[in-house]
């Protein structure tokens, strides 16, 4: 019972936030709910096939393959592959989180996965083309270059922090996603 309540805490939170909003401004709450529903529909459309593909990746791609290309010891090649994957993967960033989790569970290096996410977020090639159109080519190229450098540094720092030895209970939640600690491969 308590577990169910905890599991649906996010849903309850959202409803509460909208009730508060409605109290102050009914039209704003209406707009908020409409936006949330359309966004939720988009997520419902995109995430199931993403999870399907990751499920297949999980059963078909051997751990060694991921380890070899973007695992420990993959070196500069691993960073380049990760950032290339990130910047060519189209779609919203939230769909990349499960991908990142699946790669981690299969032995990818933390720094590479973070570089992948950063590249996905800020250096997506189709978006850079659009950026050049609205903000000019120098702006887009300059930002792309700096972002890729930042992606490597951020990845390196996050890896040091996440993998720092710590002997507290539950300190290794980094790989299994906080709320479901019982399945260490919670990445599927």
């Amino acid at each position: 019972m308590k577990k169910t309540a905890q599991r649906y805490r996010p849903v309850i939170l959202v409803i509460a936030a909208n009730v508060v909003l409605w109290y102050f401004s009914p039209p704003a709450a209406g707009k908020s709910v409409a936006t949330a529903i359309s966004f939720f529909k988009e997520m419902l459309l995109i995430l199931p096939p993403v999870f399907l593909l990751l499920g297949l990746l999980n059963v078909w791609v051997p751990r060694e393959v991921i380890e070899r290309y973007i695992g420990r010891g993959s070196g500069i090649k691993g960073v380049v592959i990760s950032m290339f994957l990130g910047s060519t993967l189209v779609g919203p960033l939230y769909a990349a989180f499960p991908v990142a989790a699946a790669l981690l569970a299969k032995g990818a290096r933390v720094s590479n996965v973070v570089a992948f996410l950063t590249a996905k977020a800020a250096a997506e090639i189709p978006l850079v083309a659009m950026e050049a159109k609205f903000l000019g080519l120098p702006f887009a190229v300059c930002r792309l270059g700096l972002t890729l450098v930042a992606a490597v540094i951020i990845g390196w720092i996050v890896e040091r922090v996440v993998e720092a030895p710590q002997h507290q209970p539950g300190s290794n939640v980094s790989l299994d996603g906080g709320s479901n600690r019982k399945s260490p491969k919670g990445a599927a």
């Binding site: 936030a17 939230y94 990142a100 300059c142 700096l146 972002t147 720092i157 479901n180």
Partner: protein, 159 residues
Amino acid sequence: MYGVVLYLVSSLAVIISWKADRDRTREALRMAAKSFARTGPFMVEVAGLIGVLLALIPPQWISEYLGKQAGMAGTIGAALLGAITLIPGLIAFPLAGSLYQEGASTVTVAAFITTLTMVGVVTAPVEIQQLGKKMTLWRNGLSFVFALLIAVVMGVILG
């Protein structure tokens, strides 16, 4: 369009996989369903947060606000707004373009675009669920700092 391609690719992959090995495919489907069910509530949270946020801070307001602000205050404001909001690129780049034309500095526009893309406060619930709290906090925190750095360097390079 994107959705259609994604469904075509994934169903094709499932069919091929099923032909190759039924048991493995069953296992893959089971895993997919399980992780999808687990992510569900957090998807509701993210969608809800975005709804509340866009109701409180409409994109038009952002361009009005940032157009008026100059200097440091404008840049910090742009970085914070970029970090907490989630605007799709299709709207974000035209918006940033109009900011530029209204006279916002390169640093401000760069700070806005960079935090907008790199830092995701509203999508954090899904990120935490998938990757853990520590990694999410550090990735987003560092991204914010680096976004400001990138903005400043761009200001120096592009003037």
